[in-house]
Structures are given as structure tokens and as C-alpha cells.
């Protein structure tokens, strides 16, 4: 079981390649169902996440190289949340220039102060609630003036 997750950790998120699919929290289960067959359960971040298809292909391809035939199951429930992103991955996002989502943010998530990933200032401005991918919003730091993406709470 642990080995399977180690293999899956080699697969980067296609849209944010600094983090892998395990630390993103989208791998829900991984088990061997026979000697050379694995069953991997994943869950989409958003209903329309276009990366799901390529993630499924990546999983099948990587396991094939290891002589394992992988079957990928997609489940919707329980519903993915940004709280499942690991602390390590949050740090990676920050270093990559994407402000990580606040943990445990509820209904007020739209108004949480966003720290600039570059200088750490909370003096930031929302440019748009939406961004280059479904999971991001656009912000700008008003101190160092850096425009940056915010991985929005979900």
C-alpha cells in the first residue's frame, strides 16, 4: 500500500507541476487487487478539471512501466477540498509563486487576506476571482507590486 503511494508521488499535477497528485489530495485509495493489478481511486478537484484525463493516463503509463496493470476509478464523494493539500505542498506552491489556500476556510473564504508569496505582505488586491485555471484567482501585491496566482479555497 505504502509502495503504491510512493509510485503515485512521482506523478506531477499537469497544471501545477511542482506538486504531485498525492500531496494535492486527489488520490483517495491505492491497492493491489491481484499480483499484477492495481486499483487506484482518484477524485477531481473541480467538476470540469481538464487534468483528470491526463492524470489517469499518467497513472496507467507509469504502472505499466513497472509491470502493473492499473485500473483508475474516479469518485466524487467525499468531495475534494483544498484542506487535503499537504503542508509540504503548500510550501512548494508558495515557493513556486502561487499563494496557497487558507486551511479550513468556510463561507467567508472569499475575503481572507492573501499573503504575497514573494514578500509575505498582506497588503494585496484581488484582480479577479478567476484565473488561468479553475483552481486559481488573480491577485497583486500592493507592496512589492508582484502579480500572483492564489490557489483558492474550495
Amino acid at each position: 500500500m505504502k509502495d503504491l503511494f510512493e509510485i503515485l508521488q512521482q506523478i506531477p499535477d499537469p497544471e501545477i507541476p511542482v506538486i504531485n497528485i498525492v500531496e494535492l489530495g486527489i488520490v483517495r485509495d491505492a491497492k493491489m487487487i491481484s499480483e499484477n493489478e492495481a486499483e487506484i481511486t482518484i477524485t477531481p478537484t473541480y467538476s470540469a478539471c481538464p487534468a483528470m484525463f491526463s492524470i489517469e493516463e499518467d497513472i496507467i503509463k507509469l504502472f505499466k512501466e513497472k509491470g502493473i496493470s492499473a485500473k483508475v476509478i474516479t469518485t466524487i464523494s467525499p468531495v475534494w477540498t483544498t484542506d487535503w493539500i499537504t503542508d509540504e505542498a503548500r510550501e512548494k506552491l508558495k515557493n513556486y509563486g502561487i499563494a496557497p489556500p487558507e486551511k479550513g476556510a468556510g463561507e467567508e473564504y472569499l475575503n481572507v487576506p492573501i499573503k504575497c508569496p514573494k514578500c509575505g505582505s498582506e497588503n494585496t488586491k484581488q484582480i479577479s476571482r478567476f484565473g488561468s485555471t479553475l483552481c486559481k484567482a488573480s491577485y497583486q501585491c500592493l507592496d512589492c507590486l508582484e502579480p500572483f496566482d492564489y490557489f483558492k479555497c474550495h
Binding site: S47, A48, V79, L110, I127, S128
Partner: protein
């Protein structure tokens, strides 16, 4: 159940297709991206609803249901197919739909059907953003210039008579409500009106009273605009049957 799933799927498919017409034509870059993000959310939701619906249509794929049915077989509300018009109308239409989806999915999350409940819970997270976004804009329009106030007023005039159709029921819907699988549409409509009224008051606007409502939504009866959007939507599958990306 199958008609109810089609109602959910067709609504979001047509909302997404219509909104995507703004792609590359938004008033400025960030808004262009916002609208296409929302359109993509709709497309994802419709895909999940169609996928579930295939369980009730033997031998049909998700694509068959989305692309290979005829006009009278689509159960979307007429509001969803209504043209984008100007930006005020597009935002108002998306706002009306977002309030509807928000109330609907909050209830559907508690459905006795666990699959439907899961899809609703998933989509609700997305819809909350749509609601926040469109509400912000309506506030700007309603408290903007004479021009923006006029345009918003025209949009209310154009769209209002189609909003009632969102709550029209499909054939078997009342049975599903009795089984606690889907919420009661009349209750949804009351809550929807309440939310709109509250928001409109905030904007300094009023909702039309005792207005005429168009009939025929959820029964396969459409506005004159529907054939055209369906043509565009289905073109690829009709020209190249079975084509896949």
C-alpha cells in the same frame, strides 16, 4: 429519475455553451477569463450529470445524450438558451441561474440518492463563486451610471418572464419529491424569489410584480433561439459521427 437528470444536465450544458460565446470577446481580459471559467464549470457539471444519466439509458453514451438528441428532447429551462445580449444581461442571467443552483444543490446534497447528493455537493462549491462574482457585478451596475442602470433594467425586462421556467417540473418529478430524492420545486421557487428580493433591495432595485411567465420549460418546448445554439453545439458530432478528441 432519467428526465430529472437530463433537466440538470441540459441546463448546465446550454448555460455553458451560451456563456462560452463570450470567449475572446469579454469586456476585458480578466472578465473574459472569469466567464469562460464559469462556462467550463457548467460543462463539467453537465458531463457528470450526463454520465449518471447513461445508467438509465441503455446503450447511450454521455456524448449521445449531450449531442445527438433533437430539440424537443432537451429539458433545459428556456432561460438558459436565452441570448447573452449585453454584459448586464449576461451577468444577470448567470446570477439568476447561480441563485437557482445554489438553493437547489444545498437541498440536493441531502438527497436520498447518494450519487445525486455527491454531485450536488461538488457543484455547490463552484456555484458559490458564480454567485459571489455575479452579485458583485450587479451591485456595480445598479449603482453605476445612468447607462448601466438602464441596461440592467432592460435586462430584467428581457429575462424575468423566463425565470419561472427554472422551476417547472419534469414528468416524474413529483414522485421523486415524495421519495425525498429531489426537493420540491415550489419551495425552491419561493426561496429563490426571497433571495432575489433581498439582493435586489441591497442593489436598490425592485423585482417585477405579478409578471407573466413563459410556459413550456422542462417539456421540450423552446424559444426560437434554441435551434441555432443546438446546431452549433451538435455540428461536430453530426458532421463526424462518433468523433473523439
Amino acid at each position: 429519475m432519467k428526465n430529472y437528470l437530463l433537466k440538470l444536465a441540459d441546463d448546465t450544458l446550454i448555460m455553458g455553451q451560451r456563456l462560452a460565446e463570450w470567449c475572446g470577446k469579454g469586456p476585458y481580459l480578466e472578465e473574459d477569463i472569469a466567464l469562460t471559467n464559469i462556462a467550463l464549470d457548467y460543462l463539467g457539471q453537465s458531463s457528470l450529470f450526463y454520465k449518471y444519466a447513461t445508467q438509465f439509458y441503455e446503450g447511450k453514451s454521455e456524448d449521445d445524450l449531450a449531442f445527438l438528441r433533437y430539440e424537443h428532447e432537451y429539458l433545459n429551462a428556456q432561460l438558459t438558451e436565452f441570448p447573452n445580449g449585453d454584459y448586464a444581461q449576461t451577468i444577470l442571467k448567470t446570477y439568476f441561474f447561480a441563485v437557482y443552483q445554489k438553493i437547489l444543490f444545498e437541498k440536493l446534497m441531502k438527497s436520498q440518492d447518494s450519487q445525486l447528493a455527491a454531485l450536488a455537493e461538488k457543484a455547490l462549491k463552484e456555484v458559490k463563486y458564480h454567485y459571489a462574482h455575479t452579485k458583485t457585478w450587479l451591485n456595480v451596475f445598479a449603482n453605476g451610471t445612468e447607462e448601466s442602470i438602464n441596461r440592467l433594467g432592460n435586462a430584467v425586462g428581457n429575462l424575468w418572464e423566463y425565470t419561472g421556467g427554472l422551476f417547472d417540473k419534469t414528468e416524474e418529478e413529483e414522485n421523486l419529491t415524495k421519495l425525498e430524492i429531489v426537493p420540491d420545486s415550489e419551495m425552491l421557487e419561493n426561496e429563490w424569489q426571497g433571495t432575489i428580493q433581498k439582493d435586489f433591495q441591497e442593489f436598490g432595485m425592485q423585482i417585477p410584480e405579478n409578471a407573466f411567465m413563459q410556459k413550456g420549460s422542462r417539456k421540450g418546448i423552446h424559444t426560437e433561439y434554441f435551434g441555432y445554439i443546438l446546431c452549433e453545439l451538435q455540428y461536430m458530432q453530426r458532421a463526424y459521427p462518433g468523433c473523439e478528441w
